[in-house]
Subunit: 253 residues, 2 copies
Amino acid sequence: MDGGIEQRGKGKRSRPVRVADEIKQWVVERDLKPGDKLPNEAEMIALFAVSKGTVREALRILEAQGLIVTRTGPGGGSFVDKVSAERARSLLGNYFYFQELSLADIYQMRKALEPELSASLAGKLSADQLDELEALARHHDHPAATSEEEKQQHIASLAFHARLAEFAENRLLAFVISFMAHILTDMTVYRQLYDPPNVELWRRGRQHQLELVGALRAGQAQSARRIMASHMAVAEELMATQEAKLARRFISD
Amino acid sequence: MDGGIEQRGKGKRSRPVRVADEIKQWVVERDLKPGDKLPNEAEMIALFAVSKGTVREALRILEAQGLIVTRTGPGGGSFVDKVSAERARSLLGNYFYFQELSLADIYQMRKALEPELSASLAGKLSADQLDELEALARHHDHPAATSEEEKQQHIASLAFHARLAEFAENRLLAFVISFMAHILTDMTVYRQLYDPPNVELWRRGRQHQLELVGALRAGQAQSARRIMASHMAVAEELMATQEAKLARRFISD
DNA sequence: TAAGATTTGTTCGTATGTATC
DNA sequence: GGATACATACGAACAAATCTT
C-alpha cells in the first residue's frame, strides 16, 4: 500500500540509498514510533545482505533526514526519531539557498498568515503562555540607542512571533510562520537589517505586541486579527527600508 | 561569517557529520554554484585527513539533503546541486509524518494563501501558461460517474493548483501552496477522500477554475481573489465530508 | 574505580563497476 | 576494444563510547 508508489524514473540508485529505502519501509510496515529500536549493524548486514560500510551509509542518509538517531555502547543502536522542527527548518532552508527570496515575498506571506494565526489563538492560550508572550514584548522597554540594540530588538520581536506560532494547534501554520521568523532573524543577523534606529516604528511595534497579548487574553479574535494586520504593516515598513534580497547561504544545523 | 554560528549544544557529532559540515563550509566559502565540482574522494581524504569510508558517509549525508549529486566514471565526482522542489517537499513531508495534520488545518492555510496567490498572478501569466491552466481545468468535462473517476478529478484539480503555484514569483508562496496540493493528493490517493461523487460540487468547482483563468487573463486581481476564495469554500466543503486526520506515513522520494 | 561486555565508529587494503576517450 | 579515472562495495581489524558489575 505504499513504498511501491512514487518509484517513477529513478534510474540509478546506489546501494546505500536502496538500503535506506528498505529500512524506511521496514519501519513503516511495523508502524514503529519514535524511540523504537532498529536492528543493529550486524543484523542489518545479514538482513539486507550488504557490507557494513553500505549499511552505515544508509544509516547516515536516514540520520541526515532526521528520521533516526544512533547511539554507541550497550543498549545503543539506531532508533526511530521524529523529525524536529529545527531540522525541518534547516532542511527547507537549504531549498531556499538558491531561490531568490525578497523581503516583499516574506511579507506577502506574513500579512496573509500572521493575522490568521492571531485570530485562531484568541482565548486559547494559558495564563503562562500569555505571560511569556508579554514578557517577550516587554523585553526591550526603551527605544534603541545603538544599532546593536536595534538589532537585539528586532531579534526579540521575531522571537515573539516564533513563540506565538509554536502555540498554534495547526502545525503547518505554526511551521511556516516559525520558518519565516527564523529566516528574518538570519537576515537581521547577517545583513544589517536593523539600522538606522527608528524610535517611532519601535514605539508602534511594541504597542501592537502588547495590545495583541491583551486581545488574546480577552479572547477577542477579530481584534487580535486587526492588531496583527497593523503590526505587519509596520514591520514591513521597517524592513522595507533595507535591501531586498535574502542572503544566499546554507542554513547550518 | 558563517558556519561558526548555530553551534550551540551540539555535543557529540560523529566524524562523517563534521566532515559533511566542513564540505558545506568549503562550498559556501568559495560560493560554488550548482554544477560546480567538489574535490574527488582521494583529495577529500587528504583534505580532511579521514578515511575513504568517512568521506563517503559525509557525501551520503549531503546527498540525502539534496545538496550534491555524485557521478561515477571519468569526469565524475561530486557536484553542487540545488535542492529540488520535489526533494524539499519530501524532506518537509517527513516532519509532518508524526504531526497531527487535519483537513481543517490545511484549509485554514489554503483559504489564506490561495486567494492571495490568485490576485498576485492576475495579468502576469503568458498566453501559454493560461492555456495550460485552462486545459487542466477542462480536463474532466463531465461529472464523475464512479468513485475512480471522482478520484481522478480531485487529483486533476489539485494539479491545477500545484501548477498555478509554480507560476508564482514568490518562491515561498509557491512552495507552501504546492506542498499542500501534494499532501492533499496523497490523502486523496491513500484515503478515500473522493466519494461519494457530488455532481453539484463538481460543477461549481469546475466553473470556479474556468472563471479564475478568465480573471487572470483579464488581469482582474480582485476578481481572481474573490473567485479563488469561493473555490476554497467549495473545496473545503467537498473534503470536509471525509475523515479529518492525515494519513501518517513517510512520503517517499 | 576498574574491568569487561556490547555496540557503533574508523581505517585500510583490495576488488569491482562505470563512464569517457 | 583498451586504457584511464573515477566512484562503489566488501571484509577484516582495531578504536572509541557507554553500560553493567
